[in-house]
């Protein structure tokens, strides 16, 4: 998504002289109000002055029931149905054997081979620094050990790391195979783009937990389920980057091609695709980062690897072990991020990056690697990391974290009870009693004002559907399953968490973003911390969060706050940096002070970016709401977790869908016309 130019937002700030009555403008001002009133009247006529959402309004026997029926159909037909047995089953066993083959391949390479290969690739595509970094990160899988009964009571994480690497590789290859053609297709044919956009939106907003249940039904537990979940989660950015990359190739370049008589296919292959390579590589980089952020969730459905020790640590509340295993996931993400970013620059040939070796030189390098591997494998009988080479920092981490927690308990407890009693509980009570039609009216009016009638219709539809997702009162299925699911009430509870987390994120994130823009030192301190927070699996900090804030909504809010903070800080800094030099210099020439500049010029111009920051923060907070369900925050998050862990497919899927609808409403409301137009 390309952000709007500063110039356009300046232009729109121009207003007609205030003393003239502009009828068209008045109409535009009043239309949202009229829409809101109309929705209120219609809503009251339909359901009366009702608190919340009427319990008797259920869509066709209940949306949860549709999914429960589908689940039971799949279970009974799994072995007889052609599609389920051969296509899905075949895909599952293909993914499984591909992963297992890769794991064995990495094992065959031996640890020496893997290390050299990682360093060599990093060196070829990047600088020396990239290579040294790769070496450090890869050796950390062996060196940073956890107490799990090895020879000295500790054992290395080499094998789980290689499993995760293999899972990631398969998921990334499949994402590429799906993502790039889809991106090209949507760049070339507008109808494809229009069809795909809502699907991609849903895939991005849908919490991974919500589709874990159907995936397990289809693929059973294990590596295939983990890979499928990862691909669904990671593929949307690649499609988007590819499409935008191709679409933004300059018109004149294409016209030059046409002038030489190139066919459409030639233009696509020889002009547009190569010029879009940088965007595509950025998309691939995103795929890698997204895939690594879902490693722990993939472990929930039986995919092995580094997610397992994180979950195991969660189960035994082992702070240190969870943190170290989480750290290794961060390290793998950082390694793959640096290498793939260098590869992206290499592919698009930025000056001074990567090596230009002749063919014989390359042949010697690869030949040398092969010899080393053969010697290591058959001569020295090396295998995975030598278990004695490493140490455990787990106890220190545990002690450190306990110490910090103990120091903070008094502050955090009073903060927690203040926020819960005076902010969260009242907000929750207020939203709980809020009539659905009033909510629909507010959303409709705001959507009309920001995006016109089409957006208003879409969002009011989403609000009404949210309530309709509920299960009928006293719902049972086949006499075995029974649960309550009041979608509206739970959605309002979730909304209160999202609002508080969002406000906290912006209150902390925007000042930090400004600080990082103003002072180089602040940027230098913040950057590694943000990098770390962005890739650290949220499961790692669940236990400390509960220890500090107690089980409940505030623990959930805190987890969401931490998860989304980097996005809020980053987008603010980025927006401020995009302000053009000339504008600032013009301000300086009028004698503005530094703070005047910031408040009067830089911040107003960066506003569209800050809107983008709000939007990104909302989406990330939404993504984390499910994890918040694991620490006692109720609402849709707990519904999805319950649906997943009790195999109540209808509950999990309907709650997930409600969450998607809510995500769409919040996303569209926080986008101005411009930012949405910028999405292409």
């Amino acid at each position: 998504m390309s952000p709007p130019s500063a110039a356009s937002s300046l232009a729109s700030a121009e207003a007609p002289p205030p003393f003239l009555i502009d009828v068209g403008r008045l109409g535009r001002r009043l239309a949202p109000l009229a829409v809101g009133i109309a929705i209120c009247i219609a809503g009251v006529a339909l359901s009366g002055f009702h608190k919340g959402f009427p319990a008797k309004w259920v869509l066709g026997g209940g949306v949860p029931n549709w999914f429960d029926r589908a689940d039971s159909w799949v279970q009974t037909n799994q072995s007889s149905n052609f599609f389920l047995h051969h296509i899905i089953g075949g895909l599952g066993s293909f993914l499984n054997s591909a992963t297992n083959d890769l794991v064995s391949a990495l094992h065959w390479l031996t640890w020496v081979g893997v290390l050299i290969l990682a360093v060599l690739v990093a060196w070829l595509v990047g600088r020396w620094k990239t290579a040294i970094f790769a070496a450090l990160m890869v050796s950390s899988f062996g060196i940073l050990q956890i107490p799990n009964g090895g020879p000295n009571g500790i054992s290395d994480m080499w094998q789980p790391a290689m499993t995760t690497l293999s899972l990631m590789a398969v998921a990334i290859v499949i994402s590429t195979i799906i993502g790039i053609p889809l991106g090209v297709a949507s760049a070339v044919w507008t109808p494809v783009s229009k069809t795909l956009r809502p699907i991609l939106d849903v895939a991005q907003i849908l919490p991974a937990f919500a589709y874990l249940v159907p995936i397990v039904v289809l693929f059973s537990i294990g590596n295939p389920a983990g890979i499928v979940a990862t691909v669904i989660y990671a593929v949307p950015p690649l499609v988007r980057f590819t499409e935008v990359g191709i679409r933004t190739v300059r018109r004149d370049v294409i016209e030059a091609g046409e002038a030489f008589g190139a066919t459409r296919r030639q233009i696509l292959r020889d002009i547009q695709l190569p010029l879009a390579a940088q965007a595509i590589m950025l998309g691939l980089n995103q795929v890698i980062m997204m895939a690594l952020s879902i490693v722990v969730i993939a472990s929930l459905v039986g995919a092995g690897g580094l997610g397992d020790p994180v979950l195991q640590a969660l189960q035994t509340q082992d702070l240190g072990m969870g943190a170290v295993a989480g750290l290794l996931i961060v390290f793998m993400a950082m390694w793959l991020d640096r290498t793939s970013a260098a590869l992206g620059k290499h592919a698009t040939r930025r000056v001074g990056v990567g090596k230009r070796l002749t063919r014989p030189q390359l042949a010697i390098l690869w030949g040398g690697l092969l010899v080393v591997v053969l010697v290591a494998q058959y001569g020295l009988n090396l295998g995975d990391w030598p278990s004695g080479w490493g140490f455990s920092i787990v106890d220190h981490v545990t002690n450190g974290m306990n110490w910090v927690t103990n120091q903070l308990t008094h502050v955090s407890e009073s903060l927690s009870s203040f926020l819960t009693l005076h902010v969260l509980n009242p907000l929750q009570a207020f939203l709980n009693d809020f009539p659905w039609w009033l909510m629909a009216a507010l959303v409709g009016a705001a959507a009309w004002a920001r995006g016109g009638p089409r957006r208003a219709i879409l969002l009011v539809g989403c609000v009404a559907l949210m309530g309709l997702m509920q299960a009928p009162v006293g719902y049972t299925f086949q006499g075995v399953t029974s649960y309550d699911f009041s979608a509206w009430g739970d959605a309002m509870q979730t909304l209160s968490l999202v609002i508080v987390a969002l406000v906290l994120d912006l209150a902390v994130g925007i000042p930090l973003g400004i600080a990082a823009y103003r002072w180089r030192a602040a940027d230098a301190v913040l950057r590694p911390i943000l990098d770390f927070l962005q890739t650290l699996p949220a499961f790692v900090y669940l236990i400390p969060v509960v220890a500090l804030f107690g089980v409940g909504n505030l623990a959930g809010v805190t987890a969401s706050f931490v998860y989304a903070l980097p996005a809020a800080v980053r987008a603010t800094t980025l927006g401020l940096r995009a302000v053009q030099r000339e504008v600032i210099e013009a301000g300086q020439s009028f004698g503005s002070t530094r703070w005047q500049l910031l408040l009067k010029i830089e911040l107003p111009i960066a506003r569209p970016y800050i809107t983008l920051a709000v939007n990104q923060t909302i989406l990330l907070v939404m993504a984390e709401v499910v994890v918040a369900g694991l620490v006692g925050a109720g609402g849709l998050g707990l519904d999805v977790v319950t649906g997943f862990s009790r195999s109540e497919v209808g509950l999990g899927a309907a709650a997930g869908l409600t969450m998607v609808l809510m995500g769409i409403v919040l996303d569209r409301l926080s986008q101005t016309r411009q930012t949405q137009g910028g999405q292409g």
Binding site: A277, Q315, Q317, A347, R349, G479, V480
Partner: protein, 343 residues
């Protein structure tokens, strides 16, 4: 012009990358080929199928599995994989033949009748030994300060002790992982106790909360169960609820007003296991032990950070006779009592 030059240079760059990719692919394929020839054999060790045991979210379940894994691998020569999975999906997986057995079942009467009684895809693998007990618990220090908390009437009187910001203005009753089916909301309502049930969302979060309160000697009341290795670390006391009766078990979930039913923990396995791995099926039926034995293995795993193998070996070293009796066909095994309705 600049763009054109860029794209030309880019072509050569791409070719080089294609070269690297091709080489990597060749290495991968070669390695994969070697691996598959080697791996093909490993899926079936000496023609014996791999056994998969379901590990549920509590530590006792893992303790059962590591000992079973040790015995099956060492004495019967089958490879055993432990797979982490929730309770209900494990039944589905067994019915599909993708899971060999579950060694600790709590209740699950709907699944029992669906898969064992009707479907026959899953079969009874005997009782596990310990009896499960689910109920309301408080820390023992709290009982000493407030002896009336020994039963629900005391809780009803003292509900103010348990007020937290989250549950305010009511008292808080802390429930655990959402996969555990609980009656607490119905109990609180039907016994007219002014407590609000707060779901911790995961057992880890629940336990962390209990630990925090325990350290500060604060009042807390929660859903808990035995056997559980944490009971060896913390001192908890059970709060008596109105006694369980079969009549109460027949009530609808929302109307339940008595204690949790007794649980005879049992084992189940995929029916195919009797044909594909008869010695394993025989062993699994006879595998049974006491809550203390299970707790000691769980403690070694969770607190002492022993590896699965070490914890099992430590148990085996002290219980050679017991293992021998599990492996002998002469040892009688106890059949499963059908789980109580509503569990």
């Amino acid at each position: 012009m600049r763009d054109q030059g860029g794209s030309l240079r880019l072509r050569t760059g791409r070719r080089r990358i294609a070269g690297i990719a091709a080489l990597l692919a060749v290495i991968a394929v070669a390695a994969a080929a070697i691996a598959t020839t080697a791996g093909g054999a490993s899926a079936r060790t000496n023609g014996k199928p791999t056994i998969t045991l379901a590990t549920n979210s509590w530590e006792g379940s893992l303790a059962n599995n590591v000992v079973a894994q040790y015995v099956i691998q060492k004495y019967l020569g089958y490879k055993v994989n432990l797979v982490t999975i929730d309770e209900i999906p494990a039944w589905t997986a067994m019915a599909q033949g993708k899971m060999s057995a579950v060694l600790e079942e709590w209740g699950h009467s709907p699944q029992y009748s669906q898969y064992i009684k009707k479907g026959h895809q899953v079969i009874d693998a005997g009782q596990e030994g310990p009896n499960g007990n689910i109920g309301w618990y408080i820390p023992t220090y709290l009982l000493k300060q407030h002896p009336e908390l020994k039963n629900w009437k005391g809780v009803k009187k003292d509900w103010k002790l348990f007020v937290t910001p989250q549950s305010s203005p009511q008292g808080q009753f802390l429930d655990g992982a959402p996969s555990y089916v609980t009656n607490d909301q119905a109990l609180v309502k039907n016994l007219k106790i002014n407590l609000k049930v707060v779901f911790a969302g995961s057992e880890a979060a629940q336990l962390t909360q209990i630990e925090t309160s325990y350290k500060q000697k604060k009042p807390i009341i929660f859903y808990w169960y035995t056997p559980q290795y944490q009971n060896a670390i913390y001192k908890f006391s059970q709060v008596a609820l109105p006694a369980w009766t079969p009549k109460c078990a027949k009530l609808k979930p929302a109307q339940i007003n008595c204690a949790y039913p007794p649980y005879h923990l049992y084992k189940v396995m995929a029916s195919t296991l009797r044909k594909t791995a008869p010695p394993v099926a025989n062993f699994l039926r006879r595998f049974s032990w006491t809550p203390n034995e299970q707790n000691s293995v769980a403690y070694n795993l969770a607190v002492k950070h022993m590896s699965n193998d070490q914890a099992a070996a430590a148990f085996a070293a002290k219980h050679a006779k017991q293992i021998k009796s599990w492996l002998s066909k002469k040892t009688p095994y106890t059949k499963v009592l059908p789980p109580a309705a509503g569990t």
